[in-house]
Amino acid sequence: MTNAPTPIAPCPVNDRMLTWLCRHLDGIDPAQQHEIEVTTRELIADRRGVAKAIEVASIAALSIRLRGRRAAGQPAAAWLQGALLGGVILLGVVAVETWAEALGSGAEASTRLAAVLAALCVSCGAAVARRGMPLRGAALASAGIVPHLVELHGGDRFFAAFSAAAVGVLALLLGSPSPRRSRHGSVAFDTALVIGIFGAAAVLGSLHAVGVASVVATGVLPALLVGLAVLDPRFGAAAVVLWGWRFIASEPGGLGRALAGLTDDQDPLVLMTRWLVMAIGVFIAIAVTHRAVRRSLLL
């Protein structure tokens, strides 16, 4: 007597995700999308949980890879489009921090007004740039951030806010938008971007955790982007912008002071370690992006 094989439980989440992913594969005609779905279903028919999820994840990876391939076929395009994405993310972070500050602080009315104006302009500037108008986005963000920087002048946050805005705007000016637009809901996405920035800021402001945005933007998010760069080099270029900013802003002049033994408020070793970590981060992001661009040219 032989044991009957254990029936494989259906997994509606994987099935639905597979259907959704296949129907949203960029630049693939519906017949080919159907073929990919049928093949994947055949492959996962006799597989269980994790193996099934890995196969579905390979379709998600294909989706990212195709999007990158269609939008940025040439190495230079991958770097430029990634720079724009990095600029948009960086300005988004500036907007979150500024909104959170304006919503949560007990500052003077003029300071708060400048912060609200800056946050509104920067978040709208990021959305405008994402829609393929980087110059207008950069102008809008710059116009909004200047009064805020004037209010902050001389304060502790001035250099961080200034450098983030400067790097973000510069990335928008140097970068170029993707020539391909999403088929669905671009306006809805941009509206959601602005509302999302405001929402994140409101939560962080109410929790008195403004610094979390900076940690996510300079730690978690770039690491995730570097991981995704294997599939689409543009993500790696965006990480270069984020870690590049952090490298610049980590400690203005700190390395020089540490080397000269002039620091009296911080351990020189801590400063040098921080500087070194940031430098390694930038180097890794550049190396991964460069390698991903080269790999994308191979068959």
Partner: protein, 109 residues
């Protein structure tokens, strides 16, 4: 064409699977699995990413759809450029293998 040699292993095996005649996606995956004796298991995402690129570059072409009792399947075949590419890569790999055997001083197994 020389720009695309050397090929990545999955691409090489996909082209090899198509060398004996047209096949659909699932057939290619099974064929690669058999040829490599289970060593290379292509994921659907890897296969169709490679086919998309090979089709764009003119090495593989869509032949047509055919149904054998199940849902209609799309068949792919090697183009003449694809055949040349595979031949070039096979020659390169064979030359490298011959070099190693001669340096080892043993006959090719």
């Amino acid at each position: 064409m020389a720009d695309h040699v050397p090929l990545r292993e999955p691409t090489y095996l996909i082209l090899t699977a198509l060398a004996s005649g047209p096949a659909h996606g699932y057939g290619i995956i099974k064929s690669v699995d058999e040829m490599s004796e289970g060593r290379v298991r292509l994921r659907a995402g890897t296969l169709y990413g490679a086919i998309d690129r090979l089709e764009q570059d003119g090495y593989v072409a869509f032949v047509g759809e055919s149904s054998e009792g199940g849902p209609p399947r799309r068949y792919y075949r090697l183009t003449s450029a694809g055949t040349s590419l595979l031949r070039d890569e096979a020659a390169r790999l064979a030359a490298n293998a011959d070099l190693a055997w001669s340096r080892l001083g043993v006959a090719r197994p």
